[in-house]
């Protein structure tokens, strides 16, 4: 067997590294163009504007209106953020500013476990606990008859799934605020809460916005758990107890039949393309908030 000498080994190893690096940096472009090319058939006869704002979804007759799915996705995502944002912010402040290190040491594994539980298991938990809770207690409380499979159920499950994600970023941000800043405020006679409200929160604001933005992008693309509890009905939801449909759920639910109806696969790839675009856009913007935060 021929054994490589040092120079040759260096060459092989370096090329292996560079090829891998190229592959990885090109991956987002591959994703973008791959999905764009697939959805181009659909964009050929309908403008992007038509597709996004048309309300009729009849794949069999070639009508693809994504409006109900987009609205459903936005409702679920925003509602989930509404639930999760205050809880995460308060918890992050509490564990970084008020308590001893021991609480953080308990919270870290808890956050890890929450982050590790798979999406399907969250969905199953939603069906077991949240859906019956909404149909038996919460719906009747507001005088609404509901199956439980609803925008609200999806938003609630989703809000728990993104807690670890947002909380981790928030804790990092609050911990990176210099101690001197806090000490200066306290030495001027501010109370702990005044310091938090007027110094720490102001300093951390771009970071907090970024954390919520990353969470939002995460929530928008979440598939399985939402698919299992959202109800999957193609119509514009009237209230949060109505069932809805989201873009990721649309893709996941119809992959089986997409090759049997003309243009259907193209429509689903367009949905994936939209998700990709939203995710890239949000992450890009939030990245600038993080850069801004680090500059101060």
């Amino acid at each position: 067997m021929y054994i490589l000498n040092r120079q040759q080994r260096h060459f092989v190893n370096s090329s292996w590294m560079i090829i891998s690096l190229l592959l990885v940096t090109l991956l987002p472009f591959f994703l973008f163009f791959g999905l764009y090319l697939k959805s181009a058939y659909l964009l050929h006869d309908q403008s992007i504007f038509d597709l996004i704002f048309s309300k009729t979804w009849k794949p069999a007759s070639g009508q693809f209106g994504f409006y109900p799915f987009i609205v459903g996705s936005i409702w679920v995502t925003l509602l989930a953020m509404l639930f999760t944002a205050p809880v995460c912010l308060l918890t992050a402040i509490y564990v970084t500013q008020y308590t001893r290190k021991i609480v953080l040491r308990i919270m870290h594994p808890a956050i890890d476990i929450l982050a590790g539980i798979p999406s399907v298991v969250y969905g199953l938990w939603g069906i077991l606990v949240i859906v019956p809770f909404i149909s038996k207690y919460l719906g009747p409380l507001f005088g609404i008859k509901t199956m439980g499979y609803s925008i609200l159920a999806a938003a609630f499950v989703l809000s728990i799934m993104i807690i670890p994600f947002i909380l981790n970023i928030l804790i990092e941000i609050f911990r990176s605020i210099p101690m001197e800043l806090k000490e200066a405020a306290l030495s001027l006679g501010a109370t702990q809460w005044q310091t938090i409200k007027q110094v720490i929160l102001k300093k951390a604001l771009p970071g907090i916005i970024a954390a919520f933005g990353f969470g939002l992008a995460r929530a928008f693309g979440e598939t399985m758990a939402v698919l299992m509890v959202v109800g999957n009905v193609v119509k514009l939801p009237g209230n949060i107890f109505d069932p809805g449909y989201t873009l990721p759920a649309l893709i996941a639910n119809n992959y089986g039949e997409m090759l049997s109806i003309p243009r259907y696969d193209s429509a689903l790839m367009f949905a994936a393309f939209l998700l990709l675009a939203v995710s890239l856009f949000f992450n890009l913007i939030m990245h600038f908030f993080i850069v801004k935060y680090n500059k101060y």
Binding site: L27, L35, V87, L90, S119, L128, I251
Partner: protein, 285 residues
């Protein structure tokens, strides 16, 4: 401090304690309900047999196909992601260490890719699969999941390599080794337990994700005989069994969820233990 300020401070402090407890309580409730439901239906037969005829009407059999399928798929994907990811992480920490701007760009790009939802990878994997003329198979699923966990793998290894002191690299150069030797022999060895943690983290992600394999891995009641055959996965088996109207089949979905959750908890526990050891062997320059 006025009375109003005092009340405000109290009020927010109570809210903070409540939200912290809320998070811990929700975690406890989730774990409890998964265990409580799952433990009743889990049996030896379920773990060691593949589905027999009529399994989906409540007859005998188990989910061995999904357990082994998931393990095979996740291991394959982790191996691929490792062999592409490790050199990338090494390259930006050894070759590009003086080019802060380029490294920043690469990290930024990786964070972008990390944020892309797994269903998009699934759709892309499907497109790729058709393009390459493949069927839904273990191979197609493995490649898709490998792409999905690649940014996670690279960024986790990268975070570990960043903590290695630069003096280590300088010492290696001063003894006459070149850059690739420094990367693969010195830096990798120094960070080995951190790298194992990164591998376990990626494995945990790979085994739990359903959206990316939905299009590409297919589903089957048998064990695959080769790379080009469809394969069952645990998350999908939970999903399909749960959709059944038969109560026995639904109970098996709960049991499958327990199995999946246990695998992931074990992996995460294991990697946590390793992370602790890594901190112990830290060297100082």
């Amino acid at each position: 401090m006025t009375r109003g300020q005092k009340i405000e401070e109290r009020f927010f402090k109570v809210l903070m304690v409540l939200s912290t407890f809320f998070i811990l309580a929700i975690l406890a409730i989730i774990i409890y309900s998964i265990f409580e439901k799952g433990i009743r239906s889990v049996s030896w037969e379920m773990l060691t047999k593949i589905p027999s005829g009529g399994y989906y009407y409540g007859k005998g059999g188990g989910i061995l196909n999904a357990i082994l399928g998931s393990l095979a798929l996740a291991s394959g994907a982790t191996v691929i992601a490792f062999f592409v990811g490790l050199p990338v992480a090494l390259y930006i920490n050894v070759f590009l260490i003086r080019h802060k701007k380029i490294v920043g760009m690469v990290r930024f790009l990786l964070d972008l890719v990390w944020g892309i939802p797994s269903i998009v990878y699934g759709a892309f994997g499907f497109t790729l699969m058709i393009f390459l003329g493949l069927q839904t198979s273990l191979l197609a699923g493995t490649i898709t999941v490998a792409l999905f966990i690649l940014p996670i793998m690279i960024r986790s290894i990268d975070e570990i390599l960043r903590t290695a002191p630069i003096g280590l690299q300088e010492a290696s150069y001063s003894l006459g080794s070149n850059k690739s030797e420094t990367a693969f022999r010195i830096l990798t060895r120094q960070s080995v337990s951190g790298i194992i943690t990164a591998i376990l983290l990626s494995f945990g992600r790979a085994i739990g994700d359903a959206a990316s394999v939905l299009f590409t891995a297919g589903y089957t009641d048998h064990l695959p005989n080769g790379l080009l055959e469809p394969v069952a996965t645990l998350p999908l088996s939970i999903f399909f069994q749960l959709a059944s109207p038969v109560p026995e089949v639904q109970n098996r979905a709960y049991a499958s969820a327990l199995v999946l959750t246990l695998i992931i908890l074990l992996v995460s526990l294991f990697s946590r233990g390793l992370g602790k050891r890594y901190h112990k062997t830290k060297i100082n320059f």
